[in-house]
Symmetry: C2
Subunit: 494 residues, 2 copies
């Protein structure tokens, strides 16, 4: 207990006459043990939360903090349920604007929304928690989730295991970027799904811009370093290409004048870009991207090496930056679950988003899909779908609790009311400066409004600005857009 003695010599220089209250010291004294042995608790029983008692509030455990999980938590009534969220990140990412952060149009912080802002009770209600952890297994027999804490980057912590009992479980853990088993993608390409991906893209892009400025560097190496290749022509790939070409045309030409003629963007797609959009809009996008200097290439990637990728026809494409956005597939966690699956390997759910073979398990978002037996198609992996499901399920769970079925096994034969129905509201994508596509038709075949150009771009910006979750971030997104317009993009590599 030597440590405490020191506190007595506290701060107070000999000259200063601030009295140290005894309370302060006593408070200090009770804080630490000097134990030096490895912590016993780490080897002991896993910690966590045991089953709720009948007179307690029932507990909803949500796995994941994406569009589905966050919309669900926002809608859950904390007076009815204790809410426990398990996710490796403590924020939701506003994915439609993520591409804009890579080149500095928006700040990273502006597209990240802390969960505690979405559902404040998670950090303040006595029985509600957020755990920075990965789920490893679900024990549906015992109504338990097994997790392991995240400790990335710290050398002083070993991950520890948790068991969390649930009354209702919502699996909203999302999907993972698909590589189609192509060799080298994981090692050399960067995905664009999380804020840290955007940070990595930004750092690499700025590094390559600066390295290519070194005199004596051969022309072809300069061109390689500054060749940005995007694989995948969906909205993410197209929006990123558009932002990148805009960054090049506006900011690189002004601030990296030595290398401005060497930087190029190539978008590789196996089929058609923006295949979910109207043909007229697609043609507009192709025309606009080509005009802004994006090279569109039809091809299939066969192999990815550190400095170039190989297409199936044998041609090699050197690159300095490779961004991979070819869609998503089931994550290893979802694959490992012994639950029924929908076509495509997602967790299979019924019309009420329940996993029908077990009690009290629901699944929403990119990790779930309707079972074949429902006769409904698996919905696309879109924020729109995930959000709608989260909202529906929040209402359903609130209703279940109000009807007395909140606790484990309490809703067995309950009438759940209307099943989940998805109505597509349309799609949007920007294709660069002041230009976007807006397709307000319910499906490719349906009739409806589809627009391209400045008005669409204005709709795109306004729509996303209103959809950003908090007023703080809405304010920041607007401020970011304004400063980018006035001062150009920020190029400091931090």
């Amino acid at each position: 207990m030597f440590w405490y003695r020191n506190l007595i010599k506290l701060s107070t220089s000999t000259k200063s006459k601030i009295p140290i209250t005894k309370n302060l010291l006593q408070a200090s004294l009770s804080h630490f043990s000097t134990a030096n042995q490895p912590p016993a608790w780490a080897q002991a029983q896993p910690s966590g939360l045991g089953p709720t008692k009948p007179h307690d509030k029932p507990r909803v455990v949500v796995l994941g903090s994406g569009w589905a999980g966050c919309r669900l938590m926002k809608g859950l009534d904390p007076k009815l349920y204790d809410i426990v969220c398990v996710s490796p990140r403590n924020h939701m990412v506003f994915t439609p604007l993520l591409a804009s952060t890579c080149v500095g149009t928006l700040e990273f912080r502006s597209v990240a929304e802390p969960i505690a802002r979405i559902q404040p009770s998670i950090s303040s209600a006595p029985g509600s928690y957020f755990f920075l952890a990965n789920s490893t297994a679900v024990d549906t027999e015992n109504h338990e989730v097994h997790c392991e804490t995240v400790t990335d980057g710290t050398d002083t912590l070993d991950p520890w295991k948790l068991k969390i009992s649930y009354d209702k479980l919502v699996i909203a853990s999302g999907a993972q970027a698909s590589t189609f088993g192509i060799h080298g993608v994981k090692e050399h390409a960067i995905f664009l799904r999380e804020v840290h991906h955007a940070q990595e893209i930004r750092r690499k892009l700025l590094l390559n811009l600066m390295l290519s400025d070194v005199p004596g560097l051969p022309e072809e190496e300069k061109r390689r370093l500054l060749h940005c290749v995007v694989v995948g022509g969906g909205p993410t790939g197209v929006e990123f290409s558009g932002e990148l070409s805009d960054f090049i045309r506006r900011d690189v030409h002004e601030r990296y004048t030595h290398v401005k003629d060497y930087i190029h963007v190539t978008l590789i797609e196996a089929n058609e870009i923006l295949s979910s959009f109207d043909d007229r809009l697609r043609r507009y996008a192709i025309k606009h991207l080509t005009k802004s200097g994006v090279r569109l290439v039809r091809g299939i990637v066969k192999d990815v090496k550190p400095e170039n990728l190989v297409l199936t026809d044998g041609s090699e494409v050197p690159y300095g930056l490779l961004v991979w956005s070819t869609g998503v597939g089931p994550s290893p966690f979802v694959n490992s679950l012994g639950l029924p699956k929908s076509p495509g390997g997602r967790i299979g759910v019924d019309e009420w988003l329940r996993v029908p073979t077990v009690q009290d398990v629901f699944s929403i978002g990119d990790c779930s899909g309707f079972l074949e037996s429902t006769g409904k198609p698996v919905l696309p992996a879109l924020a729109q779908v995930a959000e709608r499901q989260g909202k529906y399920l929040a209402n359903l769970l609130n209703k279940i609790c109000k009807d007395g079925g909140g606790h484990a096994n309490g809703a067995k034969d309950m009438n759940l009311g209307d099943p989940f129905e998805y109505k597509h509201l349309g799609s949007m994508a920007t294709v660069g400066r002041f230009k976007a596509l807006v397709d307000l038709r319910q499906s490719k075949e349906a009739k409806g409004i589809s627009l391209a150009g400045f008005v669409s771009w204005f709709i795109w910006r306004s729509a996303y600005l209103t959809r950003v979750v908090s007023w703080r971030n809405r304010f920041y997104v607007a401020i970011n857009w304004l400063t980018t317009f006035v001062f150009g993009r920020d190029i400091s590599r931090i």
Copy 2:
């Protein structure tokens, strides 16, 4: 050349009728070689910049992008000189506000100023460059600097070597955090000098806050995780402690209610905190910090272990976050230079900030100090000193060039005019919410104004706001302060 063939199948889906111009294709064709062998240029002669010719503009090479180097570059006349900057970061850090970014009061981007914004010619004038590189040696005989490019985090690049000839060389590479040879500091403590340090502190603090929320964690482990220890009671350590206690009192109490009673801040200082300030101000700081819950401990650290540190009296202090800010000392690069040294091991300079033993080498900022022979004291490692030296030297170099001495060995017997005189303008430091110290005396003994409290805090904020380099960042700092005031600090861990 298979790669080019693919471009012919370019983009254009069969349905779309956008014509592909031949020019676009030809432009594409010339861009890549399919060479797969290791690049020959990397093994060849080091690249770089050769000596300038007599009819060329002379070249000033600046090593470093801190307060000294950036203020110098800002003041250099790009019509007179080509400016080449060598630094491992492409931005200047507004260090007085860095402590505020750790807890989210300010965004990281708001305190980073791209060099290209400070001296635009560096990225646009034909002979001016910025190199993301570390200097490894200075060859004063041949007027050459040897450098190696920075390639952190990328697996596809080997660093390559550069030689840059200079007409005038300014060494402004700064100092490094001193550890006093204490074991474990580098491994377990975090310094607070760069933006990435602030990012690391923030990530660790938020991680610990979330981990300590896990039920089943023993009390003492919880207290350890949430014990933030700051070593060093200079302005940086005090400001960081103040920000942290403010973060705890305002944001943690609101958003992490489960753990709010476990988090504590301890500031360890061997002598007196804020030793350069007026006694009255120091007493005010001690009183205010203690009131805000910061424990001030007089002690000397002997050893740092992964989860606790040991003081010289043998007591152990467990910690979850350890921030080290005990001043600076010469960097290995400065130590390696065969140049005269000032007391304390800095590069020795004369009254005109020249290294007197060699031609055309100057040194400013934390890496330099007056030679004993000048009879002047080594100035403190302050932003204020560095900035004043940068400004003085920019004017001196501009004058030298106008007088015809810009080229190598051209200013041998030139009259340099007035020597550099430093006049201290005073010191400022915040000690938490709405409270700061302002000491406007030229030295500890001199008379003058010294203030503490809200008015000081207002002066502190206004002064720094006007000193932030660009209008963009000035705007952002103001906006950050406003949003922190309105919405609280952001807690997303990205």
